[in-house]
């Protein structure tokens, strides 16, 4: 499953370096080009400032969890990483973000290409009103990543990857809206993985799923690294502990603290982080 790597040489090198590193968590010092590197990132909508002064490096081939109380700007930050906010009226941004060494917001960066390289899974499953098969290959077709003859096999491979193949193999041509919520979310994951992204952003992907489906999705996500870089927003601190190599704590539009997950939870450096992880607010 490690072939879930994009065709971008920069990323590939970085990922190979990552894979070569010790399996027990990435090193504290980032020795390779980060998947994302944020310097003094500020985001606002119109007169409202949502994020300020975010400095953050996200190592390739790792799982990073973003946690923090509601309204602190996690979703906004995530949507800035795949340029989804570009379309929001009044969106403004300062500081720099680079995607594997390239300026994400450079004039010559095509947002469509960015979004292919940086996939996203939303809080609520959002399948397209097309057949299951067409859902999976929608991105592949839009980016013309494969000839028509290969689309069927891409569907099968992607659905197998997320463990949905057995359940839907006999109804690929029918509506995705008859699937259960968890199955719909897996379908959306298959759709996101089908275009072979380098990074996957997940915004509370399991908040509408039952514990069993949640565990399935978590196992799946773990199996995708280090071929894939994962950034996941979650309100479920236990999930962050289970899943993430590093955890980032946001509060009030600022990045308060970041560290290895165990470290951040056992031994938070900041007062706010300590309060949050011990359940005293948020």
């Amino acid at each position: 499953m490690t072939d879930a790597v994009g065709t971008h040489t920069g990323t590939e090198t970085a990922l190979r370096q990552a894979e070569a590193g010790p399996a027990a968590g990435p090193p504290r010092e980032v020795a390779f080009t980060p998947a994302f590197s944020c310097r003094g990132v500020g985001v606002g909508f119109g007169a409202k400032t949502v994020l300020e002064g975010v400095d953050l490096d996200i190592a390739p081939g790792t799982v990073t969890a973003l946690v923090g109380p509601t309204g602190c700007g996690k979703t906004t930050f995530l949507r800035t990483l795949n340029r989804l906010n570009d379309r929001v009226p009044g969106f403004r941004r300062s500081g720099t973000i680079s995607l594997v060494g390239e300026d994400l917001y450079d004039r010559h960066m095509d947002p469509l290409v960015v979004r292919r390289r940086v996939g996203m899974l939303f809080q609520r499953p959002n399948p397209f009103p097309l057949s299951i098969h067409e859902n999976v290959i929608a991105g592949v077709k839009a980016h013309r990543l494969a000839p028509r003859s290969e689309l069927r096999s891409i569907t099968e491979r992607s659905l197998r990857e997320v463990g949905l193949w057995e359940a839907v193999a006999d109804r690929l041509g029918s509506s995705p809206f008859r699937l259960s919520g968890g199955q719909q979310q897996l379908l959306c994951l298959a759709r996101a993985l089908a275009v072979r992204p380098d990074v996957l952003l997940l915004d509370e992907p399991t908040s509408s799923l039952d514990p069993v489906s949640t565990e399935a999705v978590e196992d799946l996500l773990r199996s995708l690294v280090p071929g894939l870089t994962i950034v996941i927003v979650t309100h479920n601190l236990a999930q962050a502990r289970r899943l993430a190599d590093r955890t980032v704590f946001f509060h009030g539009g600022r990045m308060v603290e970041t560290g290895e997950t165990a470290e951040l939870f056992e031994n938070p450096q900041q007062e706010e982080t300590r309060n949050y992880v011990s359940g005293r607010f948020g």
Partner: protein, 366 residues
């Protein structure tokens, strides 16, 4: 919201239908409120009646028309659909009896040119109106700022409410002559002599005809389709559209894989409404077509008669036919028009059923 709480010492009575207490009812003194089943029965019968009403109206209308048209159906036979003549006959000679039905001497009716004219003008209208309406709705929903979008929506609804006679005047006095002098000659000259496009060649006439009628019908149909499509497009969930954007799709691809599938069935329904309007539109077409009888239009500039237009323009003189055959024939024509509208509707429904194999999670308009 405040939840009503029973006063202490007074137990909450169970709701009579077991659906649980609701509203202030269980705090009121007994007898103040009418027993519930009474009103529910009324509501039930009222809704049943209301549900039957449209069907009853449709059947009643069709039957009344059929009874009125029966002599004409017998007298004209099926040749009615293939003949091109429209001759009320000579009212001063003694009537003759054909197929057991009395008619003026020499009377002969054929609806073929009218059916062709009606279908052709409606086709022109739909070919123009559907893409224009969809484009308008897309722009209103996705490209215009909210305030402007509401204004445009209001203008669309106003356009839909303009009396058709005003459109007819505009077509006859302004649009028709303009086309005949400045547009049609150019189209007629430049169109290649190939099938379909051949109908755009030939003499351009003076402005009354199929093209003018089709255009004015398009202007009347666009608001119907556009306003429904706009409402449907507004219902497309943001999250689904963003999912497509997040996959790296262009705006056009988002429209193709999310918006259109989402609104398709509803838009087809709106198009049928529009087609029904175009087929049945009377005044504007009567004024813009030239209302000629007995000739099949030969190109898109030809004058023609529409079924609805002929019914309204011929009714007065038909009433002077002492045998009643002329009026019965107009009723026959009306019946054919009714059948055409119903067929269009049923056809669209079948189309909708085919198109909606991908069931949506929510019901949509129409």
């Amino acid at each position: 919201m405040t939840v009503p709480v029973a006063s202490p010492g007074r137990p909450v009575p169970p709701a009579p239908d077991g659906r649980g207490p609701s509203g202030p009812r269980w705090d009121a003194a007994p007898g103040v409120i009418r027993p519930r089943h009474d009103t529910e029965g009324m509501v039930r019968w009222g809704t049943r009646l209301a549900a039957l009403l449209p069907g009853a109206a449709l059947v009643g209308l069709a039957v009344a028309l059929l009874i009125e048209a029966l002599p004409a159906i017998r007298g004209n036979g099926f040749g009615f659909f293939t003949r091109t003549t429209w001759d009320p006959g000579n009212f001063y000679n003694p009537p003759v009896v054909v197929n057991g039905v009395a008619r003026p001497d020499g009377a002969s009716y054929g609806a073929f040119p009218l059916i062709v004219g009606t279908l052709a003008s409606s086709t022109i209208a739909m070919v123009i109106a559907v893409p224009v309406a969809f484009g308008t709705a897309m722009i209103v929903v996705h490209k215009l700022p909210r305030r402007l979008s509401n204004t445009v929506g209001m203008l669309l609804e106003m356009l839909a409410g303009i009396p058709s006679v005003v459109f007819g005047l505009w077509a006859a006095l302004t649009l028709g002559p303009f086309l005949a002098h400045h547009v049609s000659p150019f189209i007629s000259r430049t169109m290649p002599d190939v099938p379909v496009l051949r109908f755009f060649k030939g003499p351009v006439g003076s402005g009354e005809g199929l093209l003018t009628s089709g255009l004015v019908l398009a202007v009347m149909v666009v608001p119907i389709i556009a306003s429904t499509t706009r409402d449907l497009l507004r219902q497309v969930p943001r999250g689904t559209q963003e999912g497509a954007v997040a996959l790296g799709m262009t705006d056009l691809e988002v429209v193709r894989s999310v918006s259109i599938p989402w609104v398709r069935t509803g838009v087809i329904g709106a198009c049928v409404l529009g087609l029904g309007r175009a087929l049945g539109e009377t005044m504007a077409v009567a004024m813009a077509s030239g209302t000629v009888l007995g000739t099949v239009p030969r190109n898109v500039y030809s004058t023609f008669g529409s079924m609805a237009g002929v019914i309204v323009s011929q009714l007065d003189s038909a009433l002077t036919d002492a045998t009643g055959f002329a009026v019965e024939t107009l009723a026959y024509l009306g019946l054919v028009l009714l059948a055409m509208s119903l067929l269009a509707n049923i056809g669209a429904r079948l189309l909708v059923r085919r198109a909606s194999t991908t069931a949506l999670p929510v019901g949509r308009g129409i």
